[in-house]
Symmetry: C2
Subunit: 334 residues, 2 copies
Amino acid sequence: MKALSIKDIALKANVSITTVSFIINGKAKEKSISEAVIEKVEKIIVESGYKPNQIARSLRTGNSNIIGLIVEDISNSFFAKVARLIEDKAYKHGYKIIYSSTENDVEKAKELINMFKSRKVDAYIISPIKGLEKDIQVLLNDNKPVILFDRNLPDVDTNYVGSNHFSASYQSIKTFIEEGKKNIALVTTDIDVQQINERFEGYRNALLDHKMPYKEALVLKIHFNQDEAATIKQIKHLFDTEEIDAVLFATNYLAISGLKVLKITNKKIGPEFSVIAYDDHEAFELHTPGISTVQQPLEEIAETVIKLILSQLTTKTKLPSQQVIIPAKLILRD
Amino acid sequence: MKALSIKDIALKANVSITTVSFIINGKAKEKSISEAVIEKVEKIIVESGYKPNQIARSLRTGNSNIIGLIVEDISNSFFAKVARLIEDKAYKHGYKIIYSSTENDVEKAKELINMFKSRKVDAYIISPIKGLEKDIQVLLNDNKPVILFDRNLPDVDTNYVGSNHFSASYQSIKTFIEEGKKNIALVTTDIDVQQINERFEGYRNALLDHKMPYKEALVLKIHFNQDEAATIKQIKHLFDTEEIDAVLFATNYLAISGLKVLKITNKKIGPEFSVIAYDDHEAFELHTPGISTVQQPLEEIAETVIKLILSQLTTKTKLPSQQVIIPAKLILRD
DNA sequence: TTGATATGGTAAAACGATTTACTATAACCA
DNA sequence: TGGTTATAGTAAATCGTTTTACCATATCAA
């Protein structure tokens, strides 16, 4: 039982394929098709449950109504939540999302871009990594909208939506200092992306601006793809060997590992040991005591991303690139 | 700068389109194309960076190498994690995932199925809701592989991968009873899906089997799509008005709301008040004290789903439906 | 009456691949 | 020698749409 085609509809209605196509695409009036024919054809379409083959449509028109989403890891709660919001909003405008996780692997990311390209996605939403500059430039040359989010690629002139990681990080450390903390650690990752680098710089600058020493020993850079057990070990080592009274975690999964260390070692968060985590997570709110976090406004990020895409998609002319920085909020708990 | 087509390659290599196609698809040997020609064409393909247009390919062959994934909410950590695992495994076999969230809305789900159908996805992975039976049957009649997961639809004869929710729930309650709990509450949702119903039945049967009364007042069914504030209010009301010494939460997001209530009201989990949550979550491990949970084996679920899909996809003959039940584990914490 | 315009519609090319059926030559065997 | 088979490759149909260019006929203004 093959699916119906436009041909079948044309046959049933005793009109040409062209006529059916015009009606489907709402061009009937403009192409002067009579009301009677329109009604007849529409009735047949509804009755038969005919749905146009999107593949054929894409082949002919060159666009797919699909938006490609490339992130580091779709199961990370930050990305999962943004993805959901983006999907919702895209869906309302007739677009679907196809996604993939790069695992911070440049080769995989390049492959993904190529797959999306050969699938003719209409636009790209990418949380990029270094080394993708050229591939993204190719997309831009091809006149495809590309929105970077969460992380920027300074060498690529395209749209970017993200938070001000430097200032959020700076604020966090400033808060620690004002609380009288003397030995503030930073647990971050070793991936070389702007967002992570900014968090580091915010940390360092806040210290220096307040005349506090920047001690390398208090900065732990965790290798990205290692398993959690190793991460926990390293964090534990840091806590065991250094005298620390406050720590900023640069990502939520690092913070979760860190909290596990505290739990294992039975170290308590309190006046003599403070924690701030980057990117909120249910676990932080529920933790006893509550964990202060830097909250990125997911809804606004998603909204902005979609808005940028739609504006690019509807105006065929190339719009100037926009860099939208949405401030992150420091949520102090307990 | 339009993308290269197979025609361009044929022209450059001075051979026919057919020849190029055979080479691309690894049928060169079988179609007796000479080694010299193969090499020449392959060289041109590599040098020019030509990538076949998947849309055209799909139109001609009728399959897309895309698998459609339909879940309740992709941002829920359970689904996000399974989705990530499924994506990984699918990717390794050359398939991509296109996903959407139903929000438990039958109409939206039907629409999604139709969109996927018109996009000619090769297979469907669906966490279904009641009311979708007919639509899924249509897919099956169309000979498309459909794997239901997390929830089953008893009236549809297709593949299913999930946990034994009845026995996990039963075990949880039994554990409570053995600890001497007398007033065990259940916080669940009002959606009518098998998985949720089984959790309820497990609760009820465990009580009755142990000669304990089933009290309707201790079962709170939260309306699915309401916002969290309302949920918190209802749970708080339950805790305030009923004497309860243990509670089973039927989903992780309900448990999170419940834990928030405890935090707000400063009620402590301990010997006189126990909690078990369904579907693990980072917040449960980190909570003080740790929250016991029913853990579904995500990796195994994803693995099984993909295995079923691939076996269906590779054998064109219709395989008998399989129902794979992977036991859930009750993790007791603290 | 003539030329222009509106009305109502259609034929056929195009999108970029896959695949079937075919051709032409060479090699081989009896 | 003639018939069969292997080798090396190609032309053209096809998938299901959209869209361009066109054709009639009717109407209308000058």
